[in-house]
């Protein structure tokens, strides 16, 4: 009201503040996207890489037509080169093929983990934030407890009870990150519920369930979805750590974490066995994080 700080919180500019250009046509929107991406080569690489990983997860044979479990003993432990781009392992299996096919199990587990965390955590947070009072108090104390136990230990406790296997690992990882979603969802719900426009809606007679559906959910969902993308990266790391420790799919099924574990015994002589699947994990997580940063306001601030 009284300030005229030049770049106010909304990120608009005086003068321009009243005339934000509205991308009216799809064509304009596309042009804006083009400009946005042109200034961010890292983001483009990330998107392309994640797309490739997704292809690998669903139709691996497009990228690597070979059989990931078929070994040619004569070719064992070959360094990366022309014949085998990422080398071969101790049974002569092609590392590239195994990494590509490993994406499937690793990503499946990650998707399950994030879905579990999003649904359970989101509901807890929504309930706590919207109902408030003792419901909020109780649910948030529970969430505090989940936060007091380091995620990987909580996952390990769950695995102890559930047993081994990709899906069980995924559920364990998902439950362990419920707390984050619950907190963000609650904070967002509270923020929106206490906002003036929700009070305004109430004061014109809008019923609570209509307010929840039309005002609270749409306005609170954004940050939670951004968190979901970020948690996707963390879940890949958690899932691969657990499969590295040997709780995931039993061999010979390829899975990124267990591929690194297999390569460990040959670390001194055949570094690529460990390095390549690890690169795949790191690159995927990095790309996902880059995309999440782009979604988290970078796009909105861009004009």
């Amino acid at each position: 009201m009284t300030t005229d700080v030049l770049l106010p919180a909304e990120g608009t500019v005086p003068g321009a503040a009243v005339a934000v250009p509205v991308p009216a046509t799809p064509r304009e929107r596309l042009a804006r996207l083009g400009r946005f991406l042109r200034g961010r080569p890292g983001l483009v690489v990330s998107i392309v890489f994640v797309a490739l990983v997704l292809v690998a997860a669903f139709v691996p044979s497009v990228l690597a037509p070979g059989d990931p479990t078929l070994g040619v003993p004569a070719d064992k432990l070959q360094a990366p080169g022309l014949g085998h781009v990422l080398g071969t392992d101790y049974l002569g299996r092609d590392v590239y093929t195994r990494v590509v096919h490993g994406a499937s199990l690793s990503l499946q587990a990650t998707v399950i983990a994030v879905a579990v965390a999003l649904v359970v955590g989101g509901l807890i947070g929504l309930l706590a934030g919207f109902v408030g009072r003792w419901v909020d108090e109780t649910l948030m104390r529970f969430v505090d407890v989940l936060l007091a136990i380091p995620a990987i230990l909580l996952s390990l406790a769950l695995i102890t009870a559930l047993g081994f296997g990709t899906v069980k690992v995924a559920i364990a990882v998902g439950i362990a990150s419920v707390a984050n979603f619950a907190r963000v969802m609650r904070a967002e719900t509270l923020r929106v519920r206490r906002s003036t426009y929700v009070e305004a809606a109430r004061s014109v007679g809008t019923r609570w369930y209509v307010t929840l559906r039309r005002h609270v959910l749409p306005n609170a969902a954004g940050p939670v979805l951004v968190l979901a993308v970020l948690e996707f990266g963390l879940a890949i790391l958690a899932v691969s750590s657990l499969s590295f420790l040997g709780y995931g799919a039993p061999p010979p099924a390829p899975e990124w974490g267990s591929l690194v574990a297999e390569g460990r015994n040959y670390l001194a002589t055949a570094w690529w066995l460990c390095a390549m699947p690890g690169f795949a994990i790191a690159a995927t997580v990095l790309s996902v994080n880059r995309i999440s940063r782009a979604l988290d306001g970078e796009w909105a601030r861009f004009s």
Binding site: G15, V18, S303
Partner: protein
């Protein structure tokens, strides 16, 4: 006499995504030694940027792209070298005889100017002191960085400075942390910091806009006295032309790009028109520039620029006597639309040291709102005026007392009775940026009450939305837009349209214009007046600003600490206040000193 500060052709640009933004264009300005110059402008006029540029504290993405800022050494002709000598101690390299070109100084040389030769009094005292450092340390630092005192000496001097700034018990205050002081006291601390090194120029950037009116007046008075004592010049940045008129020798009027919100031109309505294709291109930021400057009397009486004249016309304090009082209510004798009797609201405070205290936010208040009448409640922050409004609307439950609406007791209304009340009494919020769901289109916002009560078919609701936008003087082309695409004034009009959707009998306006620029304030007030005249609406108008209230209210109630001190017809209250507190509030209206001249 050589000017103390000379700004010539100053241009400031900001880097932003998608190019550069010109924040200042060709600004020329002079401040003589000991002179008070007020820079007045609305938001976006670049007045704060000007202040930041002079002290060399532009944000990281901003830079001076052309022009010069010269600061004379010493106190000009009168002061001699004595007092100004301190500046040289900090950085001896900055020695230039004809005055220093601030834009050419290195960061290190600038540091020797800041604090020592230019003191800055910032805008919001509640956030401008380091929360984890003691007051005394923060004042002492201003001396120590310029080598004006050692550790022990600076501590003693700090207490002296706090005393000079008018802080009671300075010795005690020096050992306290900022959060233990009130806003007004913190502003005095900041003044102590600004005057610590006895600078030749003080820059005050909206120094009192975050404070209550009575506190603000005392602080500005004290600042005047201090300045008279030391002979330093003052560059006062303010949005309030009335404050400038009261305090300054000369006024500089600045304006930003002619945005949609600008009041200019004869027809306010067309100025507030929604953004068409041409508005977009016309709104390419022009940057802030000076439209007019001159001595106060000249600006007030013989303003040449239409923008200045519009500002003067819109400034509530300045033109208060000239303002047309609202026409009397249409049915003065009819039964009141709303009434509260002995209303009390207590809030439980959080435990402090195990004791639980209660706060009486509203303390035994009774009043009526007549049909077609505007009743205003004025008071400073914490006086309980907003709480009273919420109790009347039954958006909060009173601790005791009664609320009557159209003769019915609604104090304990629940369920359907409560919901029926929502159709007949509406609320307009202070901040139009917060009261509209950012994801809704204007049409969805306006039709929300209709949907809530299932009034009419979809087509009828859309038809009604179009009518309402017309009634609040917006073009129907705003209907598919979202709030973010509208200006503040346009958003408040949308909020008014929403409040009118169900044809209520009573509209409660909670500080409806205080988040808007002065010129837009005038337009929205005018709109509220017209709507009342047209349909016999009743308003309960909550405001901290007596000058605004005078323009719109039939009767005014003054609130303090939860109590209603006096409630009387507007003219009577302004001409012959009974309570001391009311007199104090009236005296604090900026611009009173010169209103007679303007009015006559």
């Amino acid at each position: 006499m050589t000017p103390l500060l000379q700004v010539e052709g100053l241009e400031v640009t900001y880097r932003a995504t998608g190019g550069q933004i010109h924040a200042l264009r060709g600004v020329d300005l002079e401040v003589a030694p000991g002179e008070v110059v007020a820079v007045v402008g609305e938001s976006g006029s670049g007045k704060s940027t000007l202040a930041q540029a002079v002290v060399g504290l532009l944000p990281a993405n901003g830079a001076v792209s052309a022009g010069s800022i010269r600061l004379a050494r010493g106190r000009g002709a009168a002061g001699g070298g004595g007092a100004g000598g301190g500046a040289g101690d900090g950085g001896g390299a900055a020695a230039v005889d004809a005055g220093d070109e601030l834009t050419a100084l290195s960061e290190k040389q600038l540091r020797a100017v800041r604090g020592a030769r230019i003191g800055l009094i910032p805008q919001d005292p509640t956030v401008s002191l380091n929360p984890v450092q003691k007051i005394g340390t923060q004042v002492a630092e201003a001396l120590r960085v310029h080598g004006l005192a050692d550790r022990r000496g600076s501590r003693i001097r700090a207490v002296e400075l706090l005393e000079r700034a008018g802080l009671p018990e300075p010795q005690v205050r020096a050992g306290q942390y900022p959060h233990e002081l009130s806003g007004g006291m913190r502003q005095r601390v900041l003044i102590a910091i600004a005057i610590a090194a006895d600078p030749v120029l003080l820059i005050a950037d909206e120094p009192t806009s975050a404070l209550d009116a009575t506190v603000a007046r005392r602080i500005l008075d004290h600042l005047d006295a201090l300045r008279a004592e030391t002979g330093s010049a003052l560059l006062l940045i303010t949005h309030d032309l009335a404050v400038a008129a009261d305090r300054a020798d000369r006024i500089v009027v600045m304006s930003g790009s002619r945005s949609v919100d600008a009041p200019l031109g004869a027809d306010a309505r067309s100025a507030d028109a929604p953004l068409g294709a041409d508005a977009r291109s016309a709104d390419a930021p022009l940057g802030g520039r000076i439209v007019e400057q001159g001595p106060v009397q000249e600006i007030l009486h013989r303003a040449r620029d239409p923008y200045t004249r519009a500002l003067i016309g819109a400034a509530p304090g300045l033109s208060a006597t000239a303002a047309v009082p609202p026409p009397p209510p249409r049915e003065p004798d009819a039964a009141p639309i709303a009434e509260v009797r002995n209303l009390v609201k207590e809030f439980r405070l959080p435990r402090v040291n195990g004791r639980r205290a209660t706060l009486r936010a509203v303390d035994d208040i009774s009043f009526t709102v007549g049909r077609g009448e505007t009743l205003a409640l004025v008071g400073e922050s914490g006086s309980g005026k907003s709480t009273t409004a919420r109790l009347l609307l039954r958006l909060a439950d009173p601790t005791s007392g009664e609320v009557l609406f159209d003769g019915d007791d609604i104090t304990r209304a629940r369920g359907d009775t409560w919901r029926r009340l929502r159709r007949r009494a509406q609320l307009i919020y202070q901040n139009p940026y917060a009261s509209l769901d950012p994801r809704f289109t204007v049409e969805e916002v306006i039709t929300e009450p209709l949907r809530a009560f299932g009034v009419g078919s979809d087509a009828e609701q859309r038809q009604r939305a179009a009518e309402l936008t017309e009634r609040v003087a917006l073009s129907s082309s705003v209907l598919p837009r979202r709030p973010v695409e509208l200006s503040g004034g346009q958003r408040q009009r949308v909020a008014v349209a929403r409040a009118l959707a169900l044809s209520p009998d009573l509209v409660v306006c909670d500080e409806p214009v205080s988040a808007l620029d002065v010129s837009v304030q005038a337009q929205v007030l005018e709109l509220l007046g017209e709507l009342q005249a047209g349909s016999g609406l009743s308003y309960l108008f909550i405001s901290h600003d007596l000058a605004v209230v005078r323009r719109i209210a039939h009767r005014v109630g003054v609130m303090r600490d939860g109590r209603l001190l006096e409630l009387r017809p507007t003219e009577e209250l302004f001409d012959d206040p009974r309570e001391d507190y009311t007199r104090e509030l009236l005296a604090a209206i900026a611009g009173r000193a010169r209103t007679e001249v303007v009015g006559g």
